[in-house]
Subunit: 355 residues, 4 copies
Amino acid sequence: MIRAGIIGASGFTGGELIRLVSRHPELELTFLGGNSSAGKRPAQLHPGLRTDLGLAIEPVTADAVAERCDVVFLATPAPVSAELAVLLADRVPCVIDLSGAFRIRTPELHERWYPKAERRAELADRFVYGVPELVGDQLVGAPLISVPGCYATAITLGLAPLTLGLGLDLRTVVVDGKSGSSGGGLHLRTADLHPLRHGAIAPYAPTGHRHAAEVGDFLKRGRRGTIGSLTMSAYGVSHVRGLLASAYVFTDDAVDGRELQRAYLRFYKGHHFVRVRRHTETLIPVPDPQAVLGSNFCDVTVLRDDERDAGGRIVVLAALDNLVKGAAGQAVQAMNKRFALPEETGLTMQPVMPA
Amino acid sequence: MIRAGIIGASGFTGGELIRLVSRHPELELTFLGGNSSAGKRPAQLHPGLRTDLGLAIEPVTADAVAERCDVVFLATPAPVSAELAVLLADRVPCVIDLSGAFRIRTPELHERWYPKAERRAELADRFVYGVPELVGDQLVGAPLISVPGCYATAITLGLAPLTLGLGLDLRTVVVDGKSGSSGGGLHLRTADLHPLRHGAIAPYAPTGHRHAAEVGDFLKRGRRGTIGSLTMSAYGVSHVRGLLASAYVFTDDAVDGRELQRAYLRFYKGHHFVRVRRHTETLIPVPDPQAVLGSNFCDVTVLRDDERDAGGRIVVLAALDNLVKGAAGQAVQAMNKRFALPEETGLTMQPVMPA
Amino acid sequence: MIRAGIIGASGFTGGELIRLVSRHPELELTFLGGNSSAGKRPAQLHPGLRTDLGLAIEPVTADAVAERCDVVFLATPAPVSAELAVLLADRVPCVIDLSGAFRIRTPELHERWYPKAERRAELADRFVYGVPELVGDQLVGAPLISVPGCYATAITLGLAPLTLGLGLDLRTVVVDGKSGSSGGGLHLRTADLHPLRHGAIAPYAPTGHRHAAEVGDFLKRGRRGTIGSLTMSAYGVSHVRGLLASAYVFTDDAVDGRELQRAYLRFYKGHHFVRVRRHTETLIPVPDPQAVLGSNFCDVTVLRDDERDAGGRIVVLAALDNLVKGAAGQAVQAMNKRFALPEETGLTMQPVMPA
Amino acid sequence: MIRAGIIGASGFTGGELIRLVSRHPELELTFLGGNSSAGKRPAQLHPGLRTDLGLAIEPVTADAVAERCDVVFLATPAPVSAELAVLLADRVPCVIDLSGAFRIRTPELHERWYPKAERRAELADRFVYGVPELVGDQLVGAPLISVPGCYATAITLGLAPLTLGLGLDLRTVVVDGKSGSSGGGLHLRTADLHPLRHGAIAPYAPTGHRHAAEVGDFLKRGRRGTIGSLTMSAYGVSHVRGLLASAYVFTDDAVDGRELQRAYLRFYKGHHFVRVRRHTETLIPVPDPQAVLGSNFCDVTVLRDDERDAGGRIVVLAALDNLVKGAAGQAVQAMNKRFALPEETGLTMQPVMPA
């Protein structure tokens, strides 16, 4: 058994990690860390969790983690992760960070979006960006893994077949993101109270979202395709879990709807967790985050806008559960690859729908 | 008192018209028409309505309408409206159609989007497009009024200050629309059942939306500004009433954020129902349809995306209640202008929030 | 015009009072008081409100209120109301308190449920309990009015025809209350964050609810009928506005379903705001709070449980909008009676449905 | 591997069975039956399901089922189940019916509540009532199992410690049930459309619910305790999955809150899926169905109402996921016992929360 620790156990991502790790057949949960919640049992903070998990949350010390963990998941804010990574790198065989501390490689971009997460360049460079579908074998044996943001995962998986696959030059990409309230975490903010969030379409980030920077930073490093302007606007809508990212793509390269569909199927062949779906294949239009709820799937649909005056727009839609494929599930998937386990291990749950 | 009739009384728009007309100080509700629901009382179909309205729904005959109405609202499907308009034009002093039958003036575009609504060109040309804020005095005394679609209203009000106001040339406009389930009307469709619609982000129209065609058709007739490609994608989200339209605009004309804000304030000065709002002026981000619920307001925000690589994108956000400013309220507002009443008459209700 | 002030303008009830008072044809809004929110404009705190109201929120002083108001609404916590009432009684022609400070007349019961709201007995005794439908002419000219709690209003209006009307002896009454999240007010509590409240059925008060005490205190003072055990459990469900109170009544008095229905209709004859409705009279089962949203209606249904072994149970259901008939609307209705205005003045809005 | 078939694959319960059975380590899904949906693949009807399940839905014939299944789950309406049971009993080693056809043993009660499900008495008597926690070893080897209704499961598990455990005589039991919209199944009913169901508190069964009859029928057969009047009222609230049943119990037997808590813990000791929880043990009040979403848990809380005039009321609250512990999960749990597998096999998923 691989001994696993989770730091930042009180937040939504921490709770989701406990949910997944505690049922993973190859993992043993050996450490739960959290400073503000030390002494509490997981089910007090996460009312759904099994009440018989056996572990209580402890204050974090590098020694305890190093002693008791083969892998540690950091579900901490970026500045905390930046500090913990220094303490734990090379003392724990694998550190998997779920914050934004190590997602953006380009220093100036990192500084622009995560000014409070100070990090050492040589440490940052060692982190593998953990989208298992796109980084090949880099994760095998990797000691340091940075899990992408929830939106970044959806957008990157949505656009990669266009750039990395087809090698298109995407002149303009406009991303419109719609997510549920769990994306905001468990913080006391007036605007997140139920009476003010229910029924809302909240334009919380109409311009400038750091996940867009993250996507650009990653995809532009790819060997094929280019991206010109990539902008994003993000909205909170009236549910809790799951997001849909829409990317409206303008390219001068000619490619029709059928080719796009085939290219996407080809690109994700053999990748269990990315489902390329036709828009009308079920009794509801897809992709829709309700069809991936609680699971590690990312559903992707690609369409060509053939309306007159559409300018040849390509519409890419990607839906995922922000706490699973957008966070804890993807972290476990990356860890599976790190330890050479089958990618689906511990992630076989199917979506809970209707819910 | 102006004698008012409503045809199509059983749908959501019909119900909303009853709600507004029955409380309008200058209107007397004299006719409720509906074929499938004939014989029923309004409160049976619309459980919230006053139970003492006095009128029952009757089968529709042109004679009855002509005899008893000074104004008639058609809350009927486009093909039915097209037929009724022929029968009622010139027999009733004012016919106000809330369907799409007479919204698009260009014949080919109409044919493309409303193939089942056959109409006579000479009748179609007489309809005034009823956005009161944008058509000046054309509504005064108008015998035939076509009320814009809900999305079309939001987008048109959002873009007009750029084209009609500033005279900009908008190279590319990408519209992303998010609306509640009431927009789909009261039809039995599996995908609209609560268990499948709750929690959804349903990409029901990822490419090609007829309201986009309507906006283009109207704005391109304006004397100032141009629009190149205008595309739209529409999504159903997990609430009932209200929509937010986001327009992402790319233009080569230089204009900064302050100028935009001033231009919008200037453009809508004196127009009570359009509120130009700063994004952060309240305890929730605006515009948000929850802040206009049940009212005739349309909240509009304009922003310049100053991120590097943003390509000078302008973000325009417009929120309204699809059943009020997007349908019944706008119809009453247009009628007020038609009969030279103050525009706010009968429309003074303020938003119901939180809800 | 009657000059009206509102103290506690930043909460949900305060916002709702502003919504109603600012449109009331006989009221002029002359004072908005609030200490923590002093200096803000109403639309900053209540994003839906008209942005052109003209008044800003001011710190509260008794002199200012006395000078500028003919009536003042206290939308303050009970302890604050208890203090303000002392300062304002006899200096303002009418003080209307919406807190629990003066609802329960019996001193021991008051002390049990509102220990922090210290009040003088002689002042407390002068307050009229403001359910306009049940207190006859006591409100006319009343200088001090206490507005019942939201649940208390629903339950009292639901049970009164049985006790005050039919004179029944109700051996056992079990109340089960279900309400939306706006009932909890605008406070930062973790359990009220959207991710934890959405989808919840939260048993927040499984035993012991002060509104039950309030109902007993009022109804037991009535001249007819008796109530033995009256218990209550209250739940928060997954919407924002509106509540349904179910009262399960066991009595040894014989009365059948028809008689009950007739008795309720008779009891509320001429009372516009209480609608006695048959369970199946519309396309949804009623009463349902969605059918009264935003309005001052209270919908009431009474049924006899004729199942074998049902013990002759009577089921009484009452639905209302907790911020309108359960708070601000009822306060305005009481004020209308106080100043001898028609009861419906300023309260003619119809429910917003669907929403 | 045990070969399993599912009939009625197109409904919510059918979909949930596919979700659970397809991941059960000891089951092989060998037959999917459905007449209206024959030819479709599961993921077309249940958009969340894995798209690679391999099986399509087939028309139902007894021969095919008998040949290919060791166990068959009937997720069919009661009249269909009654017919299928005749055809399949003794031809398939285990028939598990999830409808109401065989839940109520007393013939007159069955006839009262399921008049359309005609059944043979000798067949009905052979069905074991499948609440695994309450029927001891009766399920081991049972050829015919009837899975209780969702509400019946919650109420029975909630009350059993009082009657079967403590042997109390419950004079009066009033049950108030609150459930999400998935309980109504996937049928096209106007009242179940999203715009009319969202935000509702729908009193759909104010008197007379067949699950109450089912509970009485089962518990009154127990050797200890008695139940006098047991009534129920049921409400649909504004979420999709999960229910909370509240039982308000009046008894003349003396028992205090501590004794109750201890008795419940003792009664369910060793029963993994029933969690006896204190009301305030987590950051939200429990039991709340959101804390069991997607899992097979039933959370139970018991409280004594010590308010004056409460008449010694006992409040029992039970929450479960109506599609899991209230249907498909309990069916699998019963099947595990039938085939002498550990009870948790294939049911180890933890609740998905927040959602």
